[in-house]
């Protein structure tokens, strides 16, 4: 029998109880949502918390997908499976969630991995996070002393680092309902389909008004920092322009490389990653256009 690491588990009775616990033991404790990342880190000895805060009992309060008042709100402990079952992706505007679902690990991981866990673990190659970034989502952080909303684009500080203090918990992520005539996409380029981390992931949102790009948001797994980021300059370049192949090509091949810095590592070279980013960005925009126009609902990358 392999013991990952010995630790004690605190089982909270409510959200308040969990927050009180973090206030007392925050520095030495690790909150665990699905555990699909934390348990692996602990097995590898990367993280060695003395105590683990089991968040699973809080699913009564924190597992939901709600729409209303112009917002889409997703509870932090909603599993990927539940997110799909909620029917959000049946809305043509949120087809990106279908991409994220289909590419997300394996069925058995979708049953326990959560949206909040994906955000909190701050891994740069998290599909759901990149899609939420393209939807300009914000995250609700709660502690005993109060709560604050932080835009997802300001949440990350490094690989596996966020602005969360040890006493805070992510309880919810929300984004504004997108207008009619818009859609989302998530594309990943990978050695094999699903179940592994991509070389390049792009999440995109676009609103077409007539033939004009009324609004666009592009999120990549990395813009240079070791965490997901938005391609703000490329977005600015595209906004208000006609959706024509010359404009898109110009944005992909000339504007994007000016603000994106890619890294070399054992998985791929920077040059290759940058090239993939350009190609995937182009494909993403074309796919959104076809989705808005009622074309294919879902297809591989």
């Amino acid at each position: 029998m392999i013991n990952i690491l010995r630790f004690n588990v605190y089982i909270p009775s409510s959200l308040e109880d969990a927050l009180e616990f973090l206030k007392r033991e925050g520095v030495e404790a690790a909150p665990m949502a699905g555990g699909t990342d934390l348990l692996v880190l602990m097995r590898d000895g990367v993280k060695r918390p003395r105590k683990v805060l089991d968040l699973w009992p809080l699913r009564r309060e924190l597992a939901f997908v709600k729409r209303g008042d112009g917002w889409v709100r997703i509870g932090a402990l909603t599993t990927i499976e539940e997110l799909n079952a909620s029917g959000l992706a049946r809305d043509r505007r949120y087809l990106g969630f279908m991409d994220a679902y289909k590419q997300f690990g394996a069925p058995y991981l979708r049953a326990i991995a959560t949206v909040g866990g994906n955000i909190g673990t701050a891994h740069p190659l998290s599909d759901v996070v990149i899609l939420l970034l393209a939807l300009d989502a914000e995250v609700r952080l709660v502690s005993v002393d109060g709560e604050r909303w932080v835009p997802l684009s300001k949440l990350f500080r490094g690989k596996r680092e966020t602005v969360l203090t040890p006493t805070e918990l992510i309880t919810e992520v929300r984004f504004k309902e997108t207008p009619k005539g818009s859609s989302t996409v998530l594309l990943k380029f990978d050695r094999r389909w699903g179940h592994s981390m991509g070389y390049v992931i792009v999440g995109a949102y676009m609103h077409l008004d007539g033939g004009r790009i009324a609004d666009v948001r592009l999120a990549f797994d990395s813009m240079g920092e070791p965490y997901p980021g938005r391609a703000f300059k490329t977005e600015d370049f595209l906004k208000g322009k006609e959706f024509r192949s010359e404009v898109i090509s110009e944005a992909c091949s000339n504007v994007l490389p000016r603000e994106m810095r890619r890294i070399d590592d054992y998985r791929a070279s920077a040059e290759y990653r940058l090239d993939l980013s350009k190609v995937l960005m182009k494909r993403a925009l074309l796919k959104i256009k076809s989705r808005i126009e009622g074309g294919e609902a879902y297809g591989g990358s």
Binding site: G34, G35, L39, V40, R43, D54, A106, Y108, A111, H195
Partner: protein, 191 residues
Amino acid sequence: MAVAKPESGPREVVEEYPDIKVRITVNGVEREVMVKPYERLIDVLRYKLGLLSVKEGCGRGECGTCVVIMDGHLVPSCMVLAIRANGREVVTLEGLAPEGMIHAVQKAFLDTLGVQCGFCFPGVILATKWLLDRNPDPSDEEIKDALGGQLCRCGSYLRFVEAVKLAAKYIKEGRTYFDVEDVKKELYLRG
């Protein structure tokens, strides 16, 4: 309580880990087990309850060998702490069919020669069962998605698809269970 060792040097804290009582319904039988907080469901099923079909492959949720069905969800038992299974219902390969019988999914995999070395099979069969429970008539695409997380070093993947379709056919015909002796005779199996 934490007790600090008196020696100088890096202070080692000796932590105590209480035994926690959990009730898990395993294959229809309610079992009460004492577990440590850090023990995983696989540790309990395999080493405490002796269900040897639950195997640890990678231990990090990548290979699908250790999957079990918990409350209708397919979960990797190496990624679920035992305390999280408290009050829940777990099905392993052993619980698929009554004594002396095998499940249609098992029969289908035997028929199509989908089993080669057999290491990954407890997981593959449970994933198939889980898929057919939710979707009695899956397409090729759906089968590939559902079994996409089950790694098979022998590479029987193409036969997986064939076998799942055959299993779906058996179940639709109402032949959910097969008598082990009959199957042995039919397929010339010994042992």
